[in-house]
């Protein structure tokens, strides 16, 4: 009988296997071991904490590392947005709304130490005599510019049938004044200070920045969902991260190729005790008056990434027109603090947006400090601030462990002139304020760094932006996706919605027992957990397919998501 019975079949197979192993063992094999695999001291891999929380932290750290490894600016930005197709739920920070008692929250969210400088009253005779001469020369120009601006604007207001409201009036007048004052200052100073010839002026640029803040109490839905799971019940009230998006439109912004000099040394910046003395605002920002919105993470310092653009901010003029709308019952002290909060958040956001274009983001730490200067003005009252950004890590456990702190120092608002008289003459011009303004212009951006030092997390000298890729399709895809995310356009198709009757009769009170469960909330699908690349791909018609009509592989346009 040629067919073996089952037992014999098995035994035959076992014998064959053993023979294979036995034969291998029997042959003497020349074993070669690479020397590099062995070291004198045993090097054990890191012992990982395998608890649930640590594993979550580990996945987050791996995601941050993936972002760091990406070579170009646009890809990093797209990667941050990858987990959410419909955008993140972010706290909306604006330059139009600063609620009561906003300063502790702003300091916590930006990890800033605020130093209020006293207004310099009398100028000491020994320092800066050359600045005195410049101030004298600029004085007449500026007074003329102010009178001109007020006159022309008042003359033009006559023409309008309905005059605009107070906020818009202030904004229009201040825009004219700021542009004229900036022009006069640059004309007066550019002869002596060469860096002002290379400055780039942005008119009403778009400053937006996105970052994650830790040490905030979890919202009620997070607490409830954690309490419902036995392995997370004990961690229900642990602090979690809150995502923040700043949107601002200053009057004017000046940029330069090189960085401003720092005014806090690295030793002073790394101070854990100082960091722990910072105010902590653990409660939800909505209790103060901020609102939330759903938006992609957008980091734009007013321009798109470009190779030889002046990439470092020097000076920005912020608007305080909307602060008029705050209730009068807030009080003077809180109005002053609101200005400080506005300066801190706008400076931090602009610096963060610029740093994003250099490869840093809220998840990857800075390797060198950044500086900027801010002026908040309404044409008459001017406050001057300087900001030094030392760290971007304010999320997660870094709230308690990051020794680095950001610094901001600024003055109270000082009037540049008392008023413009009915004849159009400027009354009581204040030289001190003008001197402080010119000091901001005079501070020359002098720090030069090598390209490697500037862009440590990028893909080398030849690959920094999407425009550096050789593949044209990839370039186009990355540029298109990046700008689409930054445009905050709504998606074409409607968002998934639970109708009111479904909320009442299917979710809150389960009255429809016999209906088929076809809706997304009945099938345990969370439609907001859709990632950016979960969409139908663009179809390539047969006529345009590379490789001819019959090419099935080229049916869909290739995507280059990081």
């Amino acid at each position: 009988m040629l067919t073996l019975r089952r037992g014999e079949q098995l035994r035959a197979r076992l014998n064959a296997a053993c023979r294979r192993y036995l034969s291998v063992k029997a042959e003497p094999k020349a074993v070669t071991v690479a020397d590099a695999e062995y070291t004198a001291e045993p090097e054990y891999p890191v012992i990982r904490d395998l608890s649930y929380k640590s594993r979550k932290l580990q996945t987050a750290a791996e995601w941050h590392e993936q972002i760091r490894q990406l070579p170009t600016v646009e890809e990093k930005m797209i990667k941050v947005n990858m987990p959410r197709y419909y955008g993140y739920k972010v706290v909306d920070l604006n330059d139009t709304k600063i609620p009561y008692n906003a300063l502790p929250l702003t300091q916590h969210y930006t990890r800033t130490v605020l130093e209020e400088l006293p207004t310099p009253q009398a100028k000491t005779e020994d320092k800066k005599d050359d600045l005195d001469a410049t101030v004298k020369m600029a004085r007449d120009d500026i007074i003329e510019a102010l009178e001109y601006a007020h006159d022309v604007y008042k003359h033009q207001l006559q023409l309008m049938a309905t005059p605009p409201d107070a906020v818009k009036r202030e904004q229009q007048l201040t825009q004219i004044i700021v542009e004229l004052v900036n022009r006069s200052a640059l004309q007066v100073l550019s002869a002596d200070y060469g860096h002002l010839n290379e400055v780039e002026i942005d008119y009403n640029p778009r400053h937006e920045a996105f970052w994650a803040v830790g040490g905030v109490d979890p919202p009620k839905n997070v607490v409830k969902s954690k309490e419902g799971r036995p392995w997370q019940k004990d961690d229900a009230h642990d602090s979690c991260d809150r995502l923040v998006q700043y949107t601002g439109q200053p009057y004017l912004a000046l940029r330069h190729r090189h960085q401003l000099p720092t005014w806090k040394s690295p030793e002073e910046s790394e101070n854990l005790t100082l960091a722990q003395q910072l105010p902590r605002f653990k409660i939800d920002a909505r209790t103060l008056g901020y609102s939330t919105k759903y938006q992609h993470a957008v980091n734009v310092p007013g321009y798109w990434p470009s190779a030889n653009a002046p990439n470092f901010g020097m000076l920005s003029f912020q608007s305080r027109a909307h602060l008029q709308l705050r209730p009068k019952s807030c009080g003077e002290r809180d109005d002053l603090e609101a200005l400080h909060a506005l300066a801190i958040q706008s400076s931090y956001a602009w610096l963060l947006a610029q740093a994003n274009y250099h490869g840093f983001n809220t998840y990857n730490e800075l390797t060198y400090p950044w500086n900027t200067q801010t002026v908040i003005t309404n044409g008459r009252e001017w406050s001057f601030y300087e900001y030094q950004l030392n760290t971007l890590l304010v999320h997660g456990a870094y709230v308690d462990t990051n020794p680095r702190v950001n610094f901001c120092r600024g003055t109270a608002p000082q009037p540049l002139y008392a008023e413009i008289s009915t004849e159009g003459k400027c009354v009581d011009f204040n030289d001190n304020t003008l001197r402080q303004l010119l000091e901001l212009y005079i501070r020359a951006p002098s720090i030069r760094r090598t390209a490697d030092e500037l862009l440590p997390y990028m893909g080398g000298p030849a690959l920094r932006r999407a425009a550096d890729y050789e593949n044209a399709e990839q370039r186009e895809f990355l540029e298109h996706t990046f700008k689409h995310l930054a445009s905050k356009r709504p998606r074409h198709l409607e968002l998934p919605e639970v109708y009111m009757w479904e909320k009442i009769y299917k979710i809150d009170n389960k009255t429809r027992a016999l209906e088929a469960r076809r809706r997304f909330f009945e099938r345990d699908i969370n439609p907001w957990r859709r990632t950016l690349d979960q969409h139908d791909k663009v179809y390539v018609p047969k006529a345009e397919r590379p490789g001819g009509r019959k090419n099935r592989e080229g049916r869909f346009k290739k995507t280059y998501y990081p």
Binding site: Y100, N101, T287, G289, P327, S329, N509
Partner: protein, 150 residues
């Protein structure tokens, strides 16, 4: 004080009385945690932010910086007897911000509840123990009245 329109008071006018005003405010514990200077009220749905502010400032002399309101949809419940879905009335909540120097926490009204319950239970336990002792004394003659001695 009310949604009715009353004649504007000028100096010299008689001080008219307001009867059955429909503005009311009720201090409630906030559902989400609020900063120390924010107080939460349940308020008549017809009141506006300015009404709430004036109410507190004029009647109770409280300094008010800012008021934010929201109308909470009343919850839906099943009727116990017939099973249909009913909806409770909507409530307006006002979050009143006071100056930073003021602080307010909602008082804990039921803090002594545990103690009171313990006291009640203790007295009940004591009376139960006493009755058990009585039964034990009369175990040789069960059912006889208590005034039997020895």
């Amino acid at each position: 004080m009310s949604t009715r329109w009353y004649p504007i008071y000028q100096r010299g006018n008689p001080q008219l009385r307001v009867f059955l005003p429909n503005f009311w405010m009720k201090l409630v514990r906030p559902t989400e945690e609020q900063p120390a200077n924010v107080v939460t009220f349940a308020v008549s749905t017809e009141m506006t932010k300015y009404d709430v502010k004036n109410y507190l400032e004029k009647i109770y002399k409280l300094p008010v910086v800012d008021v934010r309101t929201r109308i909470a949809l009343g919850e839906t419940k099943r009727d116990q007897t017939y099973g249909y879905v009913t909806k409770k009335d909507d409530v307006k909540y006002a979050y009143v911000t006071m100056p930073k120097t003021e602080a307010f926490t909602f008082p804990d009204i039921f803090v002594n509840k545990a103690e009171k319950q313990e006291k009640e239970e203790k007295s009940l336990d004591e009376s139960k123990a006493g009755f058990r002792r009585f039964l034990d004394r009369n175990k040789k003659r069960p059912g006889t009245p208590g005034w039997y001695s020895i």
